[in-house]
Symmetry: C3
Subunit: 342 residues, 3 copies
């Protein structure tokens, strides 16, 4: 079950160049390409003639040409040329999807095009602001996007999954404050005088305890932004005095490829020591941390697949993930209601 009327991150902007890109979202094979005029285009990756993938063809001007019999489609999906005849048969077209490029991510609207609402795309300014430097990557994860979102939203896992990088006792001991509204779940965990996660202790040169926070916003269906601060104890960071420590902004898009696989786009950005290669490398190591997430989530997915009906219990720390799943379920339900009313 997907929320179709929503924006999903389909690619990094630099992935769209001269050659068409095949990428499956929500089980639908798409072809993404950059038209001659610079536009990003998303079409169904299946020619309407003999069903060859358009991604095996080539970009011709603003159009894409099928690599099998040369049928040509414009950015709106209309077939505009059939090489062996002078006219185009009626109904010759492929589905076209609304696309917006923002903050280096290519967002595709997978539902009713008339409902596409650009204001629903979150502002992730640290992706491309000159005041920030980012480490980035894309993982292919063999797990459902909801399971991959779960691990992002519950920091109590860090102590066990990332003992040498992000794990600390503070996140386990401090319950988060969760707030859900119509379109987001927001969470903050303020940890005064807490043990710093090893990765931040190293990067920020902290030798003792810190005032630490982890705040996130979940933008259903698939995006999460993080605001993480690590400051010297008692210097007033919780009240806005951000001069004695470090802060980072992370973003994750857990874009469903299929029901059981996910494209994980992520960003880890800092606004300090922008030109320091050692700090860059140290933050770059978060890639390994995120791969630890992938490993435990993929292993868990496997066990779920083994016995999808096995009963589970909840614990207190599940509060944020349960809120996030409920909000997404409500949005999917509302969309089903809208379709039924039409």
């Amino acid at each position: 079950m997907y929320l179709y009327d929503a924006w999903y991150v389909a690619a990094w902007d630099h992935e769209l160049g001269g050659a068409p890109l095949a990428r499956t979202l929500l089980g639908m094979p798409l072809v993404l390409y950059r038209a001659g005029d610079g536009r990003a285009v998303a079409l169904d990756d299946r020619c309407c003639h003999r069903r060859a993938p358009l991604s095996k063809g080539k970009v011709v001007g603003n159009d894409i040409q099928c690599g099998y019999h040369g049928l040509q489609f414009d950015p709106g999906g209309a077939c505009v040329r059939v090489p062996s005849q002078s006219t185009v048969p009626p109904g010759a077209r492929v589905r076209s999807y609304p696309v917006i490029e923002r903050n280096r991510w290519v967002w595709v609207w997978m539902g009713d095009p008339t409902a596409a609402d650009a204001s629903q795309i979150p502002d992730l300014f640290w992706h491309d602001s000159p005041a920030w430097v980012a480490v980035t990557d894309r993982f292919h994860v063999k797990a459902s996007y909801q399971n991959l979102i779960d691990i992002q939203l519950d920091q109590t896992h860090s102590r066990y999954v990332h003992p040498t990088s992000l794990g600390n006792d503070g996140a386990v001991a401090t319950p988060p404050k969760v707030r859900r509204d119509d379109r987001t779940v927001r969470c903050e965990r303020l940890m005064p005088n807490a043990d710093p996660p090893p990765i931040w202790a190293k990067i920020g040169d902290f030798t003792g305890n810190v005032d630490h926070w982890i705040k996130w916003v979940y933008y259903p269906p698939a995006a999460i932004s993080f605001d993480v601060g690590v400051y010297n104890v008692g210097t007033g960071a919780f009240e806005g005095n951000l001069t004695h420590g470090i802060s980072v902004r992370n973003s994750h898009s857990c874009t469903p490829e299929t029901a059981t696989t996910t494209h994980h786009f992520w960003v880890a950005a800092r606004n300090f020591k922008l030109d320091d290669p050692e700090v860059h490398r140290a933050i770059g190591a978060i890639r390994n941390t995120f791969l630890e997430d992938v490993a435990i989530v993929e292993a868990t997915e496997q066990r779920i697949a083994d016995d999808p009906a096995a009963p589970t219990i909840d614990v207190n720390a599940d509060h944020p993930t349960i809120q996030a799943r409920r909000l997404l379920a409500r949005l999917i339900e509302e969309a089903a209601g809208r379709r039924a009313a039409e």
Copy 2:
């Protein structure tokens, strides 16, 4: 849906030597072997005792001996020996298939043996005539045999799939003449004063336009023969004057292994410059061209599997492939009717 009462190419004749060969046709695992007396034999590749593949056994005289408990079967499929006892249990046999070797191909009749009709095997004399030299191979293709046949029968693909070898504008611009009778579809595309495909321009030393033809015969279910001519413009080649150019004969057998995989046997033969190694290499490059067919057909098959019910449109150039599919469908229907009448 297969046409069972038909000959299918199962192997090259040289593939049948001392060791049994396992090969699946129409979803049926067969064992092929050459008996001591030289006969080619095709049996079900499943011992009637504990179902071991007979292809894991060995040839003993004219028989094949199971590699598990040593049961021995003669070329007709009868069990003739059970090592641990003196008699053979009633009903101990495996199915045997009619086999004919012709023009270096081993043809197996997959249906009712009493209906096997050797006259239905097409004459592909260029495979083994001393006047011809052939380049050959066998591909394993992850696509249905009908999709692989489609690409052979519609030359408008060459301009897009084989731009550097077989592609030319002439084949796109010139509609083919198609003729269907009870057992074949025949097609010819005469292209006077047309641009030569790059591979023939090179091999025939053509510097300008040519008189070019592509004629083929489809022998359902799975075989196609090609007659291709490239001659100097206006020298009368269309009227039979074959002195100023080159001609080649190609054969393809797209033998179904399963519903979605195919054994592709092919031959590209010439009757000129038989001993010229450079020409041989140049024609040998057609292997890469045929692999381009495989790549686009496999990619297309994948998209068909993603959504088998996705609607498609036809274009004018589909005329020959539609005729071929209709003839095959009619033959399958007639066979079903014969079985129902029995």
Copy 3:
């Protein structure tokens, strides 16, 4: 269909060390570990919280700690700690299985724990008696455990599957004596003045015929023990005079992993020339012999999967395997009857 109320070999004892071991038995993913106090423990390999495999966690004292959120389970399967809260939710537990270590094998009872009966584990003393030296291994076999058991119980296969090691004409020519009781099938094949299998001829320096026996006991569902003797002809070995030859004891556990895959644990032990490295190597070569079993059984399994309903015939030599299958079927039926009566 499995017999659940039974002991199955899950591991070698040395496989249980500091790290948890994931192993699937009868389609159930288990985690095996050695507790701090030395006990072998078997639990369901699925945390009751978010279903992470416990095998990705770590052993903490006698408990296992989940590698996702740190929930901790004792050897009985009870959750004893949830890191982010002070109490454990009711019902937080995973299933625990009775375990017995005997003769270097770790046996797990897969059914009703109250029915676990240690006396049903066969005595395989040659695994760890100082009077015996063993060659051992574990194979992962892509075949059902019943098909792998079949090949062990019918020695007429050796002539065809192991012509260079265990095969001899005697085993084909001599019918076995089979005796079935409530819990075992026992078989003996006495071969006076028979051709020795090549491997024993070499190891025992036999140059001519021998008095040879193969005796086995099948302990359903999955264990088999072998007693094999090769002695000089007429020296009275059949009457107990074991001074002019060699004897070996083999054990096999064909533990079902899934319906179509099997963990094959095996032992080949001798009580002569214990310290002779050349004899050790020569007996070690039996590993290749057992891999020949695996190859033919996996190939056969594939053919069964191709057409599970294909009819088969039986031959006289199938008597022991048919008895073994019947006993197992009866035990499974009885267990179903007990459950229905409860």
